[in-house]
Amino acid sequence: MSFEVAIPTRVAPAILPGSGGLRSALSDLFWRKPKLLLLLMLLPPVLWLGIVYIGSLFALLLQSFFSIDEFSGLINRQFTLKTYGDLLQAANLDIILRTVTMAALVTFASAIIALPIAYYAARYARGRWKALFYLGIMLPLWSSYLVKIYAWKLILAKEGILTWLLAKLHLLWLLDGWLSLPIVGGNSLSVSSTGTFIVFVYVWLPFMILPVQAALERVPGNLVEASSDLGASPGQTFRNVLFPLALPGIVAGSIFTFSLTLGDYIIPQIIGTSRLFIGQAVYSQQGTAGNIPLAAAFTVVPIVIMGFYLWGAKRMGAFDAL
């Protein structure tokens, strides 16, 4: 068999000459020494992370081991555990307990709300619906955090739309009953812990949905089929296959929801009771009270809690499916 169309032979050297100039020389150099390029690219962010970021965190840690002179209000730059002793006073422990409980509840609620949304997005949403999903999740993040919180204050207020809606549905007794409970209740939702909780969940929910969706996206659909094929009911498939595989995503999301709640000081200030959260304590200690060491010690609390949290999550095998 012979080809009737001949391919024109090009006259070209086997090795092409460089285009000359500095750029060509640099390109060749980087090609021969790829690690050099990597070093050049990583140096600025590593410097930033190492010095500015970790460095200031270290300075903060250092501050917590100083103490304040109660009479002069001056900082005594000698290492002591006195500030940590102050931290363990009942009033401060109360703040820590309240904040951690709130963070845990917000995380739990976010995970429960996020799972079905993320599952739908990962498994069924395609094309336009997927775009709509991302838009729906991200859109609230585009508007100002403060505006959203004040909007919620109006929604949750006694004269707000929620009370109005419940009145129309003749369900006001439900709200009143809830608000008359201790701890979670109050005069209206906007000045109750329940209100704080609702707004926290609203604000941090996207940070839970996105990692869970990413985790579920990576679960091949045929694992669900295989589980069903082997005799597992949909509930068993969820417990034994989907949930364990979504767990790294839930843990990743919970790191956001948990630590953001631990550190936030604006939401509990605008919505909720007058009882303090860690963030507010830090804010008032370093501002009004001028007690930088105690503020620093308060800041160490979320870091330690998150450290234990991640350690526990790792031990539970949350990262095994990564």
Binding site: E225, S227, S228, L230, G231, N240, P244, L245
Partner: protein, 332 residues
Amino acid sequence: MTSAVSFQKVSRHFGNVRAVDMVDLDIVPGEFFAMLGPSGSGKTTCLRLIAGFEQPTSGSISIFGERAEGVPPYRRNVNTVFQDYALFPHLNVLDNVAYGLMVRGVGKPERQKAAEEALSLVRLPGYGARRPSQLSGGQRQRVALARALVNQPKVLLLDEPLGALDLKLRENMQEELKSLQKALGITFVFVTHDQGEALSMADRVAVFNDGKIMQIGTPEDIYQRPKTRFVADFVGSSNVLPPDFVQRYSGQHRWGSLRPESIRIGRSAKGDGVAARLVSTNYLGATTRLALDADGLRLHAIVPAGATLPKEGEAVVLTFNRDHLHLMDEPA
């Protein structure tokens, strides 16, 4: 006797696409049944209909005499070996194999013992503690097989399970699957696009095309006596002969088929040989495959390696035993 699987006028449509179109099928208990066809021919959809992942648009399916429409996969005593194995990445090999027993509430010591036995059956004893990601493709395939077999299914479905393996491993697994099926006596339904695999392993083969079954029969039937041009062409690439050509040798105006190994190559016409030209030769190891041009009709012949062959482009004369010329049912 009740069929292991029975399809009556089963169709499965996806929008306008008739993935499975009025299929009738009866699979005998204990047989090794292969569904053979090109991709998109409906064979995998048929498998998924048996497993319960798809529901028929119309028609009825029964498994061992029991109606299966509307029955979810987890209530069917049928297990599948998936094409890409679908092993659970978060469980070790033993827990993967024991999964079916676990969801059925079998106690831990009992199900682990059964899983160990199943792993021994597929010749992977002692691999229980490993993760699927630590296994080779062939080992994963065996784990998937053990995971299905440990449930003692009434029917085992295999969706191109050997497709991802290399040739040597594939040949080994073919023999192993075959002997395993003989030993266990479980009905195997095997989907493949590899005609060699289907012919060598199955007791019976169904050839699929365009959502329909073109022919069901023993491998010999399918290979020696294809009913249609599609089957002749798809299963082992028979020479498909047009009615005019066939009429000259058999007196009947019908489509015919001729196996490539039935053609003999000569240099001079003795009697009524077919004049042709040798177009190209392909060395295949044990045999050599010749492409021939007989006055515009493309033919293939397979001759044993070592035979002295004419050069490419030379004129040759083809002869064949008249008995080997098979007449197909397909109308001219």
